[in-house]
Symmetry: C2
C-alpha cells in the first residue's frame, strides 16, 4: 500500500484552499430543510467526472457531459427535491439557466458552472424557487460552508457523507475533501448518487480523469442497494491547484500517493452510501474468487448481491447459502454446482456445492453482525471481484412505497 502512511483521514468536510461552499433552503423539499448547495473555486480548476450509464439521463447530466469537454470548471450548483429528469427541452433550458444565474451572481464564467439535481423524476423544476435559492446561496458562500452543502444535497439519507484526506504533494500540504449523497429517495421516487471531490492539488486534467475513473470503478461502481441505476448519478472532481505543487500526473513522484488517496476516499464514500442505504442495517461484502473470467466474477457477484431472496434472508439474519447457490446458478456466469465453496467470514457454509457442516448457529453469529463478508469460490479460473451490498428490509419497502 504505497503512500498510505502519508495520508490522514477524517469523516468531515474541510474545504481545500480556494474553495467556498454554501447550502440553503429554497423550498424544494416539503419541510424547511436545506435543498440547494453551491461549491465554487476561486480559480479555474481541472475537472474530471463520471456519470450514470443509464440511457435515460437527467438534463443536468447532459449539461455536465457537455461542460466536461473543456476539462475546466469553477464550481457546481446542486438542488435536491427534483431530479430534472424526463423533462425534455425545458429541463435542459432550466439546467442552463441554473448555471447562467450562478455564474452571473458569483462572477464566474457560466459555461464553467456544473449543475446537478436529485429527487423526483418527470416534474419540471420550479424555477422561481430555484432562482431564489441561487440568489441566497451565492452570498452565503464561505470557506466553512462545506457542511451546509453536504446537508443540502441529502434526500432520504439519514446522515451526510463526508470524507477528508490530508497528504503531502511536493512537500506541500494538500487536502482532498468530498461530500456525497447516497441511495436515498425523495417523494415516491428514485434514488440518486451524487459525489463531489475537491482538492487544492494541481493535477493535469487527463490524469485527474483517469485517476477518478479507476477509483470510481473500484468504489461507487461496486456498491448496490437495490440494483436500480439512477438517471442522475454524477461524480465531479475539481482540482484547483491552490496548493502550489507541480501538476500531478502519472510521472510525478507523489502520483501513487495521490491516486491511492482518491481510491480510498471514493471507497469510504461508497461504503457510507451502502451503510445508509434505505432501510439497510447490514453491509455485506460479496467476494467472488475462482471465476472462469473477470466478467464471470462480475456476473456472479452482482447476481448474488442483487438477489431479493438473498438480501431478505440477511434481513432475517439467516445464513441462507442455498439462496446464494440459486442466485449463482441463474447468473450469466459459468457455474459448476459441485465446485462451489461458500464461506461467511471465515466459516465454511458450503463445500463443493454441499452443506459444509458448520452449525447453523455458528453461521448465524456471522450474519447477525452489522457487517460481514460472503466469499464465493467458483473454482473454475482466476476471475475475481468484490461488490458491496446490503440486506433488504421491510423498511426499504416502506420508504419506497
Amino acid at each position: 500500500m504505497t503512500g498510505t502512511k502519508k495520508i490522514a483521514w477524517a469523516d468531515e468536510i474541510a474545504l481545500p484552499r480556494g474553495f467556498r461552499a454554501s447550502g440553503v433552503a429554497a423550498g424544494l423539499k416539503k419541510d424547511s430543510r436545506k435543498d440547494m448547495a453551491l461549491i465554487v473555486s476561486d480559480r479555474p480548476a481541472a475537472v474530471a467526472a463520471t456519470f450514470t450509464t443509464n440511457q435515460v439521463q437527467a438534463a443536468t447530466v447532459k449539461l455536465c457531459r457537455a461542460r466536461l469537454a473543456c476539462r475546466t470548471g469553477r464550481g457546481v450548483i446542486v438542488n435536491s427535491g427534483n431530479a430534472n429528469a424526463c423533462t425534455g427541452a425545458q429541463g435542459l433550458k432550466d439546467a442552463e439557466r441554473m448555471a447562467q444565474l450562478t455564474g452571473e451572481l458569483a462572477g464566474i464564467p457560466p459555461e464553467q458552472v456544473f449543475v446537478s439535481s436529485t429527487g423526483r423524476i418527470g416534474v419540471q423544476l420550479p424555477m422561481d424557487k430555484i432562482e431564489a435559492g441561487i440568489r441566497a446561496a451565492v452570498p452565503a458562500l464561505s470557506a466553512e460552508g462545506g457542511t451546509d452543502a453536504s446537508l443540502a444535497i441529502m434526500t432520504t439519507d439519514t446522515r451526510p457523507k463526508r470524507v477528508t484526506a490530508r497528504l503531502d504533494v511536493d512537500g506541500k500540504p494538500v487536502i482532498l475533501s468530498a461530500l456525497a449523497k447516497g441511495s436515498g429517495m425523495i417523494e415516491p421516487n428514485m434514488a440518486t448518487m451524487l459525489a463531489y471531490i475537491l482538492t487544492d492539488a494541481a493535477v493535469e486534467a487527463g490524469a485527474l480523469q483517469s485517476c477518478l475513473s479507476a477509483a470510481v470503478e473500484q468504489s461507487f461502481n461496486r456498491i448496490t442497494v437495490d440494483g436500480d441505476r439512477s438517471t442522475n448519478d454524477t461524480v465531479l472532481f475539481f482540482a484547483n491547484g491552490a496548493a502550489g505543487n507541480r501538476p500531478l500526473d502519472a510521472a510525478h513522484p507523489d502520483w501513487k500517493t495521490f491516486e491511492h488517496a482518491v481510491r480510498e476516499l471514493t471507497l469510504k464514500l461508497a461504503l457510507k452510501m451502502v451503510e445508509d442505504g434505505e432501510g439497510v442495517s447490514k453491509v455485506v461484502t460479496v467476494r467472488v474468487l475462482g471465476a472462469k473470467t473477470a466478467q464471470d466474477a462480475e456476473w456472479a457477484a452482482r447476481s448474488v448481491a442483487n438477489s431479493l431472496l438473498v438480501k431478505t434472508s440477511w434481513a432475517g439474519e439467516y445464513p441462507n447459502w442455498g439462496r446464494v447457490m440459486d442466485a449463482l446458478g441463474y447468473s450469466r456466469a459459468r457455474v459448476e454446482e459441485d465446485k462451489v465453496d461458500i464461506t461467511y467470514d471465515q466459516l465454511p457454509a458450503c463445500r463443493g456445492g454441499l452443506y459444509a457442516g458448520t452449525t447453523i448457529d455458528d453461521l448465524k453469529r456471522i450474519v447477525r453482525q452489522k457487517a460481514f463478508t460472503l466469499t464465493i469460490h467458483l473454482n473454475l479460473g482466476a476471475g475475481e471481484t468484490v461488490v458491496y451490498t446490503c440486506n433488504c428490509t421491510e423498511e426499504y419497502v416502506r420508504i419506497n412505497m
Copy 2:
C-alpha cells in the same frame, strides 16, 4: 381464437380417465399439513416436460431430465418441505429411491416414475419420513385424489392452483386437468414452481413436447414475482390416451383446439401463481411494444417487471412512470428517451419521454386496482412482448426473512 368455443373451463381438479392421485402428510412440514403427492396413470402415458434453466438443479430435476428421454411415464411422486437441491450424490440416490419404492408399491416400472421436490435447499431428504409417506400415498390413490394432491404440493401458497378444461377430440370428450404450486417459500428458503398437467387424450410424444414448450414460453416463462429463478422448477405433462382418440399431432384436425386449450390452461395457472405470489396484492401486465427487436422487448419488459423501485411504487399505489423510465434506461434494450410512451390501462402517463399531463389522481385510480396493464411503447421497431408481474410489499420481505 380457433376452437375456444369447444372448451369448458373450471377452477378445479377433475382427473382424466385412467389417472388416480393422492396427497398425504408425511411429517416433512412442521405442522401436520399434507406434504406428499402421488399421481399415477393406469397405462403408459406420453410425457413432455420443461425444467428450470438454473445451472444449479435439484436432484429431482436431474432425474426427471434423464427419465424424459424415453418420453413415457406412469406417474410422479412429489414431496414439499425439502427441495432435494444442493444435495449431491446422496440427493440423486434418494430421488431414485423415491421412484423405486413408488414403482414397487404401485406396481409400475420405477424408471417410468418421475419425482419432484420443493422446499428447503441444501438439506438431505429425511428418507424415513419420505418412505413412510410413499407407503401411505400408494394405497390412498383414487380417481378423486387430485384435490388432496393439489394441497400436498403447496408450500407458502395461500391456496391451491387447479384448472380443468373439457373439450372434444375426434368427437370424444377429453379432459385436461392441472395442479400447480406457485412462488411460495418453506422455512427461510427459496421459491419453486411445480405444475402437473394430465390428459386422457392420446397425443404423439413429440407433438406433446412442442405443444408444452410453446405454451410454457407464453405462460410460466412470462411471470415474475421476485426475479429469482428456482433450482426446482418443473412442468410435467402426461397424456395417457384413455379417451381413445386418434393420437393428436400437428396434422390432426383437432390439434389447434388442443394446443389452444393447453396454452390457455398454462396461462391460467401462471396467473394464479402471480396472484398468489408472496405478499402480492396486485397483478400487473407489462406489455412492451415497438422495441427494436423481440429480444429488446424482452429485456425492457423484464427490467421493468423486476425493478424493485417500480414494484414497491405499485405497493404504494403510486403511478410512478419515472421509475419505469429509469428501469427502461438501464435495461439492455435500446431506448431513446424522447420516443417512449407509457400508459396505465388506457391513460397516458408519459408521451415522448415527458409527463403526458393526465392527473396523478386519475392515474392513481388505475394503480389502485387489483390488476392493471402497463403498456410501454418504445417506438423503435416491431419487437413486442408481455410479462406478468406483481407489486412488492413489506409482506414479501417478512415472508422471506
